[in-house]
Amino acid sequence: MKKISKALLMSGIAAAMIYGCTGSSSGPAKQAAVKPSGHPVLTEQEMLTPCQECHQAATPEVYEEWYNSRHGIDNVKCFQCHGTYEELKRVPDQFACAVCHSAEFQHTEEGKSCWDCHPAHKFVVHK
């Protein structure tokens, strides 16, 4: 199977960085470094950068796990679980899983999270 989108994403990162970092000469980025979610503050222009384009470089292990997972192959994107910038959740609500995995959600053991058995970002069948 061919790994096809690395070059695309790298070119996207380059473009995003160029747009993001030259698109604004001021803005919230200067005023606060990190939002309560833990994410760096972004300018309006930076918010137009798909999550994975920065995270391929910023969190390469997470990116690789996701890219090679079934979620990655089927284009289940970061924002589908974590939300977008303003409502970003570092730890997704479990309803984010239940949107697609409603039946499986019913079978989770009491006191356990989905990712106790299905490791986050890899999402193999079981740990």
Binding site: L8, A15, S26, H39, M47, K77, V91, Q94, F95, T108
Partner: protein
């Protein structure tokens, strides 16, 4: 400078590392998550692509607040793509059209008016055009996203009321070639099998389809089948562009755009040469045909015809990575597998020879007997949620009446007139304008009043600048009914605000002949109304203005019914009980009551309620599975190809020559241009562009350039690139990657910014059979115009 790239990455990395802390949610929160804090869940179908995913819409305090997949649905098994899980967010969007708007001149400012005034104006303008310029001076242009009830009532009023077959819709732009292909190959429209074949197939031939982005939930099933059976299942992806779909492929066949007809004939050559065909299947069920006269020829003549398509010759035509050995390999995989399923979309349909391309895929299935058995199918994926159900089956194109009837056949027109209780001869015998002819007629001033519903041709037609000129004419009165402002509302005289999905009731019929009901769950905003109400009220006014009681007769069975349930139910009942009876899309068993009981609707043919309650027909033409294969049987054979288009009740293998695209690169325009859909957006992005998660994921279109071409032209990632054809130009940021074959560029088509609206550049050549335009191929030139620039997303607003 805001922050440097280095700083940005550093901060992002620190934040992400923190995200691994505290990932366990208490059980109580999990319960709350499952409930998603809603008052009630309402069952329906996804509003977007043709997959037909079933969804539950969560409602709280009368507002849509969540969506989730339906686990026991046989289309999606609970899975949704990002569009499917988020489309509820547009329902309460502040840009929703909420009041009728009018302007006498297209230069005037908009004025809010009442529904009474709006319906009177619409009736007056259509009546005036009919009186002064004749019945064919008016037209309806609809959508594969309209409910079946909507398309049906629109076309009924146009044909029997206004006596014109100028009834078209955007499915002409996406699946007309598949219709032509199915009718000429199998004698009946729409796929023989179902998605359920995916879990049984051992070879997938995916050609001209980036289903990973265009049909992600169906792609998930193919991906899962492949990943769970890595050695047993082969995936062939044939496409001039390496796409996300290619990630699951064992072999990607990358050829020059338009040369796949040679590839398909060469695969047939191998199948014959290596005696991989199913002699018994051919003998029992197939004949060979050639030319416009559909002349029957022999197997030997077919074999002789294919002599021009040896793998060696085809490889020379196809170029790219195509070799004779690759062609032999995929032909063997295709023929020898226990069950082969072909899947295709616009790469095959949106072509000058789209019908031929469809025929040539089906040829391979007929030759090898890869049909009508579990896992084997020649399966066209449909783009829109109700192109099949509403437009193909409901009579939404200029040449077809409801129930797969041809306009040109008098007997079939009479059946419809009788069912409608209108005088014989009321439906004109001549088909109306097909889409490209309709907008050409608009350009020429022949159409004086046109109603455009739930679609935006100003952006979605190929070579759209040419047709926008016509739509801007002051002597063409344009009604546009929609939920948001679009490039087309910009050219309208009258804008009618319509209810959105789940704000009204009706049926969608998806790719696999499956009809599914969505009931109203929330109120539409402002004064937006369901189309079925709008058409009924308009027709009653038209009847008076033209002093023609037959127009009133068209809506008489529906007078006085409340519009949210009783009205669409009455329309569905009329259509299914009176007009699908005895037709190959027999839906009489699929009443609203039955559909409401089913988690995933009913697949036709489903002549009785008892049969419909079992789900309907999974595989057509198989005795014991398809009730019509028994009721229409002509002999004792297990397969019965009873479709209406083939008098001999056989499958037809076509002798179709290789023919290239209408426009090929030359010294002035040396590149191929192709276009397609991106996963985060739907069509012209008037809906998905208003969901911030989706807009941010793909805020603007870009041009994909092969690295070798980029190097030669000095184009770097992010550079602004001019893409220009003989018709128009765009300036877009570049993405440089090994996607398009060398010599080809690719642009997604959702962006409505004038600089990035790629249909200003595409070509409006069309298939002479299906009349479907060749969006996928034209010639262009590219050059770098500047380095990267900050860009803004763009949406039309009022």
């Amino acid at each position: 400078m805001g922050i440097t790239r280095r700083e940005f990455l550093k901060r992002t990395a620190a934040a992400a590392a923190a995200s691994y802390i505290g990932i366990n949610l208490p059980a109580a929160d999990r319960g709350q998550a499952q409930a998603a804090d809603v008052d009630s869940w309402h069952r329906g179908t996804c509003r977007l692509c043709g997959a037909g995913c079933r969804v539950d819409l969560g409602v709280k305090n009368g507002k849509a607040v969540a969506l989730k997949g339906v686990s026991d649905s046989r289309t999606n098994f609970g899975y949704l793509c990002m569009k499917g899980m988020l489309f509820y967010k547009i329902m309460g969007h502040p840009d929703r059209l909420k009041k009728p708007l009018y302007r006498a001149s297209k230069k005037d400012p908009w004025k809010e008016i009442t529904w009474d005034e709006a319906l009177d104006i619409a009736a007056e303008k259509f009546a005036q055009a009919v009186k002064e310029y004749g019945n064919n001076s008016v037209a309806y242009y609809g959508s594969g996203q309209a409910l079946t009830e909507e398309t049906y009532i629109f076309q009924k009023v146009m044909r029997a009321g206004l006596q014109t077959n100028n009834v078209e819709g955007n499915p002409r732009l996406c699946m007309a070639s598949a219709v032509g292909g199915y009718l000429t190959s199998f004698g009946a429209d729409e796929p023989i099998g179902s998605y359920s074949n995916i879990e049984k197939a051992t070879c997938f031939f995916i050609i001209g389809s980036n289903m990973a982005e265009a049909h992600p939930v169906i792609f998930r099933r193919v991906m899962r089948r492949k990943l769970d059976h890595k050695d047993e299942v082969k995936v062939i992806n044939a496409d001039p562009r390496v796409s996300p779909t290619s990630r699951i492929a064992d072999l990607h066949l990358q050829f020059e755009p338009g040369t796949d007809l040679a590839l398909l004939n060469a695969m047939a050559w191998v199948i014959l040469d290596e005696k991989l065909y199913d002699e018994e299947f051919i003998k029992n069920y197939a004949t060979f045909r050639v030319g416009k006269e559909k002349k029957e020829v022999s197997f030997e003549e077919y074999k002789k015809f294919l002599e021009d398509y040896t793998p060696e010759k085809a490889a020379q035509i196809c170029k790219g990575n195509i070799t004779a050995e690759n062609i032999r390999k995929v032909a063997r995989w295709f023929a020898k597998s226990s069950a082969t399923m072909s899947m295709w979309t616009m790469g095959i349909n949106q072509r000058k020879r789209g019908v031929w391309a469809n025929n040539m895929i089906s040829n391979l299935h007929i030759l090898t007997g890869q049909l009508c058995k579990p896992g084997a199918d020649s399966f066209s994926l449909t783009g829109q949620p109700n192109a099949c159900g509403g437009v193909r089956e409901g009579g939404g194109l200029c040449h077809i009446l409801p129930g797969h009837r041809l306009v040109k056949k008098e007997k079939l027109r009479r059946q419809v007139e009788e069912a409608w209780g209108v005088p014989a001869g009321r439906i004109p015998p001549k088909p109306g304008y097909h889409t490209m002819a309709m907008f050409k007629a608009v350009n020429e001033g022949k159409i004086k009043a046109i109603w455009i519903n739930c679609t935006s041709p100003a952006q979605s037609l190929p070579n759209c600048d040419l047709y926008r000129k016509g739509m801007a004419r002051e002597d063409c009165f344009m009604v546009v009914s929609d939920i948001f402002p679009t490039k087309t509302t910009e050219l309208a005289n009258l804008i009618l605000p319509t209810a959105f999905h789940f704000e009204k009731t009706g049926v969608y019929g998806c790719t696999e002949r499956r009809s599914q009901l969505t009931r109203k769950a929330v109120n539409a905003p402002g004064e937006a109304m369901p189309e079925v109400w709008i058409v009924r009220e308009w027709a009653l006014r038209l009847s008076k203005k033209l002093n023609d009681p037959v127009i009133e007769q068209c809506v008489a069975p529906f007078k006085g019914l409340e519009p949210d349930y009783e009205l669409p139910k009455a329309i569905w009942d009329e259509y299914t009980q009176k007009l699908t009876k005895g037709r190959d899309n027999d839906l009489r068993g699929a009443t609203y009551d039955v559909l409401a009981q089913m988690p995933d609707g009913v697949q036709w043919p489903a002549p009785t309620k008892e049969f419909a309650l079992k789900g309907g027909t999974d595989i057509k033409f198989v005795r014991g599975i398809d009730p019509m294969a028994d009721s229409e049987a002509k002999d004792d054979k297990p397969l019965q190809f009873y479709g209406p288009a083939h008098p001999d009740k056989k499958l037809w293998i076509w002798l179709r020559p290789y023919k290239g695209p209408e426009e090929v690169p030359d010294s002035q325009y040396p590149f191929y241009l192709s276009t397609g859909r991106i996963i985060d957006h739907w069509h012209t992005s008037s809906m998905t562009g208003r969901i911030k998660e989706l807009m941010r994921a793909n805020p603007y279109a870009y041009v994909e350039v092969n690295p070798e071409d980029a190097k030669e032209l000095g184009i770097k990632p992010g550079d602004m690139v001019l893409v220009e054809s003989r018709r128009g130009k765009n300036v877009l940021p570049a993405k440089v990657y090994e996607g398009p074959v060398k010599g080809m560029v690719f642009v997604y088509w959702h962006d409505m910014d004038e600089d990035r609206m790629i249909n200003r550049v595409t070509k409006d050549a069309f298939d002479p059979g299906s009349k479907e335009p060749e969006f996928k191929i034209c010639a262009c030139r590219i050059k770098k115009v500047s380095g990267p620039k900050p860009l803004k997303p763009y949406l039309v607003t009022m």
